[in-house]
């Protein structure tokens, strides 16, 4: 495992760059634990100060320092993404493996549900739920909702692999020796699909964070919980661009791009590691 990581860092430039970008984000998040101000405290510093030695990323019109706002926002946003990715991974794995292995009518029914959910437009559904639930729409509820919408593509992908695993000799062998279905799925098939799970997780994380940022910018989330989208929402609410406070909008944008780029590069290079053909292409074969 460590050897693989070391090799990737050494020979794969995308992986190296992706790791560096993610390390920047993680360092930023680590800073949030040492913040001198509470996350919702306002007018603790002089408002509207441009970036300087004293205020690294400047201050906003609400009298908050943008660096500390950014670090807590990044933590909350990433947390949201991780929760969504984790829940939707569990659903995708269970649905994909069961559907692919059992097959037949069960598979047809599960896949019909899967495809129906996959065809639903996500943003309008979430907006509808936000309007209906209003104050009950806390971030865990939002995360759960997003997770319930975000597993369909990956469960199909896992199912396609499970379909081929089902006819492999080792599966027949396992069934013949008397292993139960659950044991076969968990012990024999799950390790096989782990690389796919690993790489789809990154894409799912990007999707979830994008969703959260979109909803927050529009103000459809808890505005008192600092997030990347929430920062941009507040900046818009104070007409930051008109007032010339460009750093208020630019900083969260730059950092969310860094996060996306890092995750994307990691997903891409891991994908390349998993697919032997692209590895061969890299070696010039």
């Amino acid at each position: 495992m460590f050897k693989v990581l070391f090799d990737l860092l050494r020979y794969n430039r995308e992986f190296l760059l992706g790791t560096l970008l993610i390390l920047i984000i993680l360092a930023l998040i680590a800073c949030s634990f040492f913040a001198p101000y509470g996350e919702n405290d306002i007018y603790v510093v002089i408002p509207d100060m441009p970036p300087s030695a004293e205020h690294w990323l400047g201050t906003n019109s609400r009298g908050q320092e943008i660096f500390w706002q950014l670090s807590i926002s990044m933590r909350n946003t990433l947390m949201f993404g991780v929760v969504v990715a984790a829940i939707s991974r569990v659903i995708a794995i269970v649905v994909g493996l069961v559907s692919g292995y059992i097959g037949g009518r069960t598979d047809q029914i599960i896949m019909a549900v899967n495809d129906t959910l996959g065809a639903l437009p996500n943003i309008p559904i979430l907006l509808l739920l936000v309007f209906v639930l209003r104050d009950q729409m806390t971030w865990p509820v939002l995360a759960l909702t997003a997770a319930l919408l975000g597993w369909t593509h990956d469960s199909r992908l896992i199912r396609s692999v499970a379909l081929s695993l089902r006819t492999r000799e080792f599966t027949r062998h396992a069934a013949f020796s008397g292993m139960r279905t659950g044991q076969i799925l968990f012990r024999e098939h799950l390790p096989y699909v782990m690389p796919i799970v690993f790489f789809t997780t990154m894409n799912n994380l990007i999707w979830a964070i994008g969703l959260e940022v979109t909803l927050s910018i529009l103000g459809f989330s808890d505005i008192n919980r600092p997030t990347i989208g929430g920062m941009i929402y507040w900046a818009n609410a104070h007409s930051a661009m008109v007032a010339g406070i460009w750093w208020w909008i630019a900083v969260p944008m730059i950092f969310v791009v860094i996060l996306f780029l890092g995750l994307f590069l990691l997903a891409m290079s891991v994908n390349e590691y998993i697919d032997p053909r692209s590895r061969l292409a890299r070696m010039g074969a």
């Binding site: 080792f170 396992a174 020796s177 008397g178």
Partner: protein, 344 residues
């Protein structure tokens, strides 16, 4: 010390005991699409017995129903295949099991009394898991041992099969084809089963490794006193390993008998042709091949299924189905003109 944990070797009995008895077994693949019913009669009326402590060979062309037959007798069939008629009964040292009468009992007997060496050693082992997991998953619960005793038992078993205990920590891709096949044999025999089914275990191997694997199967079989059903289309492998041999053609048995007698004096014209197709050292004449193709099992010919390709077929062959009757060489044969074919 090591041997104290091992079960005592089974005493070799003098009287032949039938471990497996198959009576008039019919298993068809039945498909129904848009109201049209299609039957593929892969196993169509087979009677046979396998004795204790013997290697019983099943030979035949591709699509002659060999694999369907052994799947059926192992109780490992899935829809659309179904047993239409007949019975499969095992006798594991006084423990009687009717495969299609008591499926639950069969499930419990698998691996412990009945194991399977499958075709294609490459894919029998899960490529992403270490070998030890295969032993733990397949054999552990059948042995009734605690983890350390089980591990010791597996290691001593591997040792007797000429494998180092370190293979347990290896992934399948780290082993050679021959080693992998040895591991599968070890996996199938670790519970010391009375009955072993070997489905073309040597097909993907080169001749030297093949020799090695055959020797190993024979050796394990001799030590355990088990019965082995050995399936392959390779007649030379049958000549090397089996005690008795059955020839399958289009879902039915054509001939059965002691291997040596079958090779010396084949009674069925199909057997005679199979044997004539084998190359022999020093013989430079061109090998004769049989005209035609194996019949479709969905729509088999009437009467004797071999009659369209048979060089000595008479009119009766296309009308009546020949029964398996005792032959002149101590076996059984299903042919109206048994013994009348001459190859040379």
């Amino acid at each position: 010390m090591m041997n104290a944990t091992l079960a005592p070797e089974r005493p070799a009995t003098t009287a032949p005991v039938d471990v497996l008895t198959i009576k008039d077994l019919k298993a068809y693949y039945i498909n129904e699409h848009f109201g049209v019913r299609r039957e593929v009669r892969a196993v169509d009326g087979i009677d046979l017995t396998v004795r204790r402590n013997e290697v019983y060979g099943i030979a035949g062309e591709s699509s002659s129903g060999k694999t369907s037959l052994i799947k059926t007798l192992a109780g490992a069939i899935r829809p659309p295949m179904r047993v239409v008629e007949g019975s499969v009964k095992f006798d594991f040292g006084g423990k009687h099991i009717d495969v299609y009468g008591e499926p639950a009992k069969m499930q419990a007997a698998r691996w412990q009394h009945l194991s399977y060496i499958m075709q294609g050693s490459m894919s029998v082992l899960n490529p992403v898991r270490r070998i030890k997991h295969a032993f733990n998953n397949f054999a552990y619960r059948h042995m009734g041992l605690d983890a350390t005793a089980f591990r010791r038992r597996v290691e001593s078993h591997l040792d007797r099969l000429g494998l180092d205990a370190s293979v347990l920590e290896a992934f399948p891709h780290q082993l050679s084809g021959g080693m992998r096949q040895r591991v599968t044999i070890a996996l199938a025999t670790v519970c010391e089963p009375e009955f072993i089914i070997a489905d073309e275990p040597t097909t993907a191997l080169d001749v030297l490794v093949q020799q090695d694997v055959l020797g190993l199967i024979k050796e394990v079989q001799g030590r355990l006193g088990s019965s082995v059903v050995f399936v392959t289309h390779d007649m030379s492998v049958h000549a090397a390993i089996t005690d008795r041999l059955a020839i399958m053609y289009a879902g039915r048995l054509a001939e059965e008998g002691p291997t040596q007698a079958l090779f010396d004096r084949p009674q069925h014209p199909y057997t005679a042709h199979l044997i004539a197709s084998l190359p022999r050292i020093g013989d430079v004449s061109t090998r004769k091949s049989l005209a035609g193709k194996p019949p479709s099992l969905a729509n088999p010919p009437s009467g004797c299924r071999f009659h369209p390709r048979c060089p000595i077929a008479i009119e009766r062959c296309s009308k009546e189905v020949p029964q398996m009757l005792p032959s002149a060489t101590g076996g059984r044969v299903a042919c109206f003109r048994a013994g009348e074919v001459s190859m040379q």
